[in-house]
Structure formats: structure tokens, C-alpha cells
């Protein structure tokens, strides 16, 4: 038993965190809100250079051949800095799906490009109405019932949908099977789609942990500085208890997310339950933390001039993506009660 990351895993994570601290400060998130494309290709290229984008691509295709235990702490850092790009879709979902389920020709066509940063991939599974980042993607992986397809971006017709998080780029998409390459069909496709969904949910949960931690850090800094009645408002018990509740939520969501990473990496027999628990706790935690952060910031937090709203809105968006807390709680209830 050893429920911790290795020194190497933590060093990799810390290097990525330092990179985000330099390259993706709040001004970059604000730029993403205001810029039409809103994606900085140089950051993606640098992350590919560091091995982050190809982290889950097998070494045979030029990647790092690593798993969720290596990846999820890095996605927590992406969440902490509210990095706006399809890391979950490309790195956590599409690359492992292609590596596990695609015929050699399709894998060879796309995986090396993912690893070197030249191919950005996104995904749409059944039940997911919108696609992230279709405007910069080269590849869409999509489910239709018991079939999974790879569709080159030039064959996808997309219509923007506007998210409350202005740094997100969502699209409704249409495509024709004539333009698509079949990856896998039948029960194998359903299993692959289930696993892809679990990977997306766990990866999103990891981002929510980082978002929550950052909202707590911003709020601790604010209430320690802001004075009313001649003292920092963080000295008031009512404010302290809001923040203690926030920290409590994140503290017990975090181990659930790491356990989901372990379950995915080791194909645990209970991986569906482990992932749902992680996403349920991470979504609930982020929603509570966002409320507490806004409440204790007061009116300044209720403006778009202050940076807090970038994190609030990303939290709301991700809390309901890849299954919200209620969806995942129902899945756990089904697994526990209907067996």
C-alpha cells in the first residue's frame, strides 16, 4: 500500500505547474475570453515539447507511454491555471482510445501527430451534446451507437454554442459517415466509449480539484488583505467557517480523484464506481468552493473586472461536463443497490 505519487511524477507535475505559472497567468485567460480564436498555439507546442501532449501516446508512436496516474496531477495544474485548451479531450481521452481500439492504419495516421503537437483532437460521445474546441481541432472522434469514428476536421460542419465560460469554445457538429473512418464497432466500441467516458470524467475531476484549490488560495489571500471594522475580514469566524467548509470539500474529493486515476491505470474491476465517485465529489466540491469564494469576496467577486469569475465559470462548466454530480451519484447508487 502506497497511496502517493512518486518523486518523478511530482517533479513532472511541478515543472508543468511552473510552465503554466509563467505562460498562462490570468491575463492569458482574459485574452482567451476576448480573442476570437482564444487559443495560444505556442503554449500547446511547448507542452508537446515537454511531453505533456504525448503523455498517453504509446512510445512506439512517439509519445511517453504514461498513464492516468502520471496525467491527472498535471491536469490538476491545468485546472489551477484555468488553461483554456482541449487537454482532456486530446490527451486523456482520444490518444488512449486510438492506442487501444483503432486499427493500425488509423493509429499510425493520428497518434504521432498528437504526440508532436501537430494534431489537436476532440471528442463527442453519445449523450454529449457539444464538442470542445472544434475550431482548432484537426480530428474529431465521435460515437454513433455502437460505432466509433475518426473524422478529419475538414469534414465536420460546426455551429458555435456560447458557454458562460467565455474561454471555452463549444460547438454543435454534423458530419457524414462517408467522410469518416470507422475505428471500432459492436460491443468493443461500446466498451471503448465507456472507458473513454470514464477517462474524460476522471480527467475533468482532476481539473476541478485544481480550480477549487486555486479559488481557495485566491480567497484566502483576499480575506487576509481586505479590512472592515479595522481588521482583516478573514479574522471573522463566519468567514473562516466558509473557507474551512471549502477546504473540507476539496480535501476529501482529492483522494477519490487519485483513486480513480489508479483504477483507470490498473483497469480496476470497480473502475466505473471509482470514476463516478471522483467526478461526483470533485463537481460537488467545486460548486461549494465557488459559492464560498464568491460570497467571501463580496461585491468585487461579482464583477468581471476581478479575475475570480474566470475560475467560477470554468468550475460551473466543468462540474456539469462529463456527467454532473447527480448523474454520477445515480450511477454509484445503481452499482451499489441494483447488483
Amino acid at each position: 500500500m502506497n497511496f502517493a505519487f512518486t518523486d518523478d511524477q511530482l517533479l513532472f507535475r511541478d515543472a508543468v505547474a511552473e510552465f503554466f505559472a509563467n505562460e498562462c497567468p490570468p491575463e492569458k485567460v482574459r485574452w482567451s475570453w476576448n480573442d476570437e480564436v482564444g487559443r495560444d498555439a505556442s503554449i500547446w507546442a511547448a507542452l508537446a515539447e515537454m511531453g505533456v501532449i504525448g503523455l498517453t501516446v504509446p512510445e512506439a508512436f512517439g509519445g511517453m507511454g504514461m498513464n492516468e496516474i502520471d496525467l491527472l496531477p498535471i491536469l490538476t495544474e491545468a485546472g489551477r491555471y484555468a488553461y483554456p485548451a482541449p487537454l482532456v479531450e486530446t490527451v486523456a481521452v482520444v490518444a488512449p482510445l486510438l492506442a487501444e481500439s483503432a486499427p493500425a492504419a488509423i493509429a499510425e495516421k493520428w497518434l504521432p501527430g498528437i504526440a508532436d503537437g501537430s494534431v489537436i483532437a476532440t471528442v463527442q460521445l453519445d449523450g454529449q451534446p457539444f464538442v470542445n474546441d472544434m475550431h482548432i481541432a484537426n480530428l474529431l472522434i465521435a460515437q454513433r451507437g455502437d460505432q466509433l469514428f475518426a473524422i478529419p476536421a475538414e469534414h465536420v460542419r460546426s455551429t458555435p454554442q456560447i458557454s458562460v465560460d467565455g474561454a471555452r469554445r463549444l460547438f454543435s457538429v454534423e458530419w457524414d459517415e462517408a467522410d469518416a473512418e470507422l475505428i471500432v464497432s459492436g460491443d468493443a466500441a461500446l466498451r471503448a466509449a465507456d472507458r473513454a467516458f470514464d477517462r474524460g470524467a476522471a480527467a475533468t475531476a482532476a481539473q476541478l480539484i485544481g480550480l477549487s484549490e486555486q479559488m481557495i488560495a485566491m480567497t484566502v489571500a483576499y480575506v487576509s488583505d481586505r479590512k472592515q471594522f479595522g481588521v482583516p475580514i478573514g479574522s471573522f469566524q463566519a468567514v473562516k467557517h466558509h473557507l474551512a467548509d471549502a477546504e473540507l470539500k476539496v480535501s476529501f474529493a482529492r483522494p477519490a480523484v487519485w483513486a480513480a486515476a489508479y483504477g483507470l491505470a490498473n483497469s480496476s474491476a470497480d473502475v466505473d464506481r471509482e470514476v463516478s465517485m471522483a467526478k461526483c465529489f470533485a463537481s460537488d466540491a467545486a460548486e461549494v468552493v465557488a459559492r464560498k469564494a464568491l460570497q467571501t469576496h463580496g461585491a468585487i467577486g461579482y464583477t468581471t473586472e476581478h479575475d475570480l469569475h474566470f475560475w467560477l465559470k470554468r468550475s460551473w462548466a466543468l462540474a456539469s461536463s462529463w456527467g454532473d454530480a447527480a448523474w454520477h451519484r445515480r450511477r454509484v447508487a445503481h452499482l451499489l443497490l441494483d447488483a
Binding site: 500500500m1 482583516p232 473557507l243 480535501s251 443497490l337
Partner: protein
């Protein structure tokens, strides 16, 4: 990262399971009554004779030198088979870690083996009528008696769990009234049969005589009953309270076992077919309680990984205490909702489901957010010492 146990640990689990399944008594009355306490002490002696009462202690004191991981495994197995409450807990889980850390060799040899064998039964004396959350406000005094080589105690302790049935109490007493609030206190161990000690049982919310008031009138204790340094009791006591908040008192095993019983209760209620809408509406609550118990288990695995690598939980143990105490309330509340109109029936009622265990568990759980430092105090600790918010 490796979330599996070694073959040796699994063998330990199998050995514990086999013995517990063959020996755990069923249907003991509450250990917080005189009759039930005596039966629980019998069980503790049986545990001791088989070497299971204090698995993590060194063999010379009655344990089997088990690792922290093995201790967690033992706890899982103990509560999985429905093992009785541990009436020795204030000694073995709260005082013993302090004796291991601060006690002299003589104190270890004198107290630990008799604690392990349930020959001595310990209660704790922290709270006083005017000092609850504000523990440093205690007034009970111990005055120096050089002639006899010890201390003379006067004052009162209260909310002393099972005080009416135990034979020793440990607690804090003010030895330097001139010193600042957190100084001038000394950690003393006092025999309850000493001259001048009066114990009065107090009936708790659940009807058991689980509380007691302890009065001290010129009670003499010798110097060898001082634990740690004179006037250094606050620091010594804090070592105990962090055990109380943290994993030694409330291992995940009991909550995971309770959550599994809650799932089982849901299935039985669903199969009974009455009030299907109510049963169906509680699916999410049952799942949430089960997940929280599992989250507590996972958080403990991470904490113990830290401990075995030399990283202490520190003030984060306050998060642990808030979480398990609130989880325990939620879990029992959910069970009572599943029972509907039968929820109010207690153990002496023929119609009570599961012998009234859920109402009993609910009433007991309600004490969790109050004792061991109220959850309001714990939230202050989290805010100030985990997050670093200003004290004033």
C-alpha cells in the same frame, strides 16, 4: 502508487477474520451501562488473551507489533463482523499514544500491560463545568505537597465518558495558577478509588449512564502519576487530542462497515415492498453516505502513507474529525429515513428494526460533532492553521 496489500498483510487479515468470526459476541447490551460495561470488559479480556486487543503495540506491552497498515486491516475486519464498541478506547487509543511518547519506562511497564488486558479501565478528564471548548480555561487545581512527594487535587471534571465504570482517569490540572492560560497545567493520572474522589453518573441523550461528573476533594497523587513535565501538560494533552481527532480513534473500518449495513438496509426495505416511493427517493442519499465512508477510507490511506514516510497530519486532523463526525450523522439519518415510522422505536421495543441499532447509532453519532473539540472549534483550527487566516 499501489493500492494493494502485501501477501503478509493479507495473511494477517485472514487470521484476524477467522478469529473474529469465531469469537465476536452478538447482541451485547450497550457498554455505556453498568451491566453492558461488565460484558464488554469480558470481551476485551478475551480479545487480549488471543492477542487482538492492541495489535499495533509492541509485544512486551501486550500487542503484536503490527504495522499501521495491519492495524487498519484489523479495524476493517473487526467492524465488518460487527465487533462491539471498544470500552477500552480512551485508554488504548487516547492515553496510550501519550504514554508511549511522554511516559517513563516505569509508567509504561506499570500502565500499558494492564490497559491492554482491560484490568485497568481509563476515562478522560478534560472538560469542566466552565471549560468545554475553551479547554485552557480549566480551574481544577493540583497543589504541591513536598512532604508526601506529590500533588493534592481539588476541583471537578465533567462529561467523563464511562466515568462511573472505570477505575482511572487522566486529565489536565492547573499546577501554577500564576502562569499564562496555556502554561501552568500538568497532565495527571488519578486512581478513581483514591480517597476524596466522588463519581456521579449522568444520563446521556440516549438514556445510558454514559457520562459522569468527577469531584476531587483533597485527592493526593504521587509524583509518579505525572505524565510529561510539571506545568507542561498542555503540550502533552494536545498530543492526545490529535489522536482523538484523527485516525486512531475513528478508523475508517467502522464507517465502511456501517455504510455497507446501510446499503443492506436499503435492499431489505426495497425487498419488503412497503413505501416504495420513499425507498426509491433515498437512493442518492444511500449512495452519498457510502461514498463518503469510502472517501474517508481513501483519505486515511493517503494519511497513513504520509505517516509511514514521516509526514504527520498536523492541523489537518481537524478536517478528519469534521468529516467523520458529519458522515456518521448523515449515515444514521439516512437509515432512519429508510425506516420511516419504525425509526422512532428503540432497542427495548419488540417492533424495532435491527434491534433499534439505527436510532442508537443516530443518537451516538450526534455526539461526534460536539466531543473531541466541537466542529466549530475544528473549523477555526482549519481556517487558522491549515489555511493561515488571521487569528484576530
Amino acid at each position: 502508487m499501489d493500492l494493494t496489500f502485501t501477501p503478509a498483510e493479507e495473511a494477517f487479515r485472514a487470521e484476524a477474520r477467522e478469529w473474529l468470526e469465531a469469537n465476536v459476541p452478538v447482541g451485547l447490551p450497550s457498554g455505556d451501562t453498568a451491566e453492558g460495561f461488565a460484558l464488554h470488559v469480558e470481551w476485551e479480556k478475551k480479545l487480549f488473551e488471543a492477542g487482538w486487543s492492541v495489535v499495533s503495540w509492541p509485544e512486551e506491552f501486550g500487542g503484536r507489533g503490527a504495522s499501521l497498515w495491519e492495524w487498519l486491516i484489523f479495524e476493517e475486519e473487526y467492524y465488518r463482523v460487527g465487533g462491539p464498541q471498544r470500552v477500552t478506547q480512551n485508554g488504548i487509543f487516547l492515553l496510550a499514544p501519550t504514554i508511549f511518547e511522554y511516559g517513563t519506562d516505569e509508567q509504561k511497564a506499570r500502565f500499558l500491560p494492564r490497559m491492554a488486558s482491560a484490568d485497568d479501565l481509563w476515562c478522560q478528564g478534560w472538560s469542566e463545568p466552565d471549560a468545554g471548548s475553551d479547554l485552557a480555561g480549566i480551574k481544577s487545581r493540583a497543589t504541591r505537597d513536598d512532604e508526601r512527594g506529590g500533588w493534592v487535587i481539588n476541583g471537578q471534571k465533567t462529561w467523563t465518558t464511562r466515568g462511573a465504570f472505570c477505575n482511572w482517569v487522566f486529565g489536565l490540572f492547573r499546577t501554577d495558577p500564576e502562569a499564562a492560560r496555556h502554561s501552568g497545567m500538568t497532565y495527571l493520572m488519578v486512581p478513581l478509588d483514591a480517597s476524596g474522589v466522588t463519581v456521579r453518573g449522568v444520563e446521556r441523550l440516549d438514556g445510558d449512564e454514559g457520562f459522569a461528573e468527577v469531584f476531587f476533594d483533597d485527592v493526593f497523587v504521587a509524583d509518579d502519576l505525572v505524565l510529561g513535565g510539571v506545568n507542561e501538560g498542555w503540550g502533552v494533552a494536545m498530543a492526545t487530542t490529535s489522536s482523538e481527532r484523527g485516525l486512531t480513534l475513528r478508523s475508517p473500518g467502522r464507517f465502511c462497515a456501517a455504510a455497507d449495513r446501510l446499503v443492506d438496509l436499503w435492499k431489505r426495505q426495497a425487498a419488503a415492498g412497503e413505501h416504495p416511493e420513499r425507498i426509491d427517493s433515498l437512493r442518492s442519499d444511500v449512495a452519498q453516505s457510502w461514498m463518503e465512508a469510502e472517501a474517508y477510507r481513501l483519505a486515511t490511506l493517503a494519511d497513513v502513507t504520509g505517516l509511514v514516510n514521516g509526514v504527520s497530519q498536523g492541523a489537518r486532523s481537524s478536517l478528519t474529525k469534521i468529516f467523520w463526525s458529519e458522515l456518521d450523522v448523515k449515515l444514521n439519518e439516512t437509515a432512519l429515513r429508510l425506516l420511516g415510522p419504525a425509526a422512532e422505536l428503540i432497542e427495548t421495543s419488540a417492533g424495532a428494526v435491527d434491534g433499534g441499532a439505527w436510532m442508537k447509532g443516530f443518537e451516538f453519532a450526534l455526539s461526534g460533532p460536539i466531543y473531541a473539540g466541537t466542529n466549530e472549534i475544528q473549523r477555526n483550527v482549519v481556517a487558522e492553521r491549515v489555511l493561515g487566516l488571521p487569528r484576530k
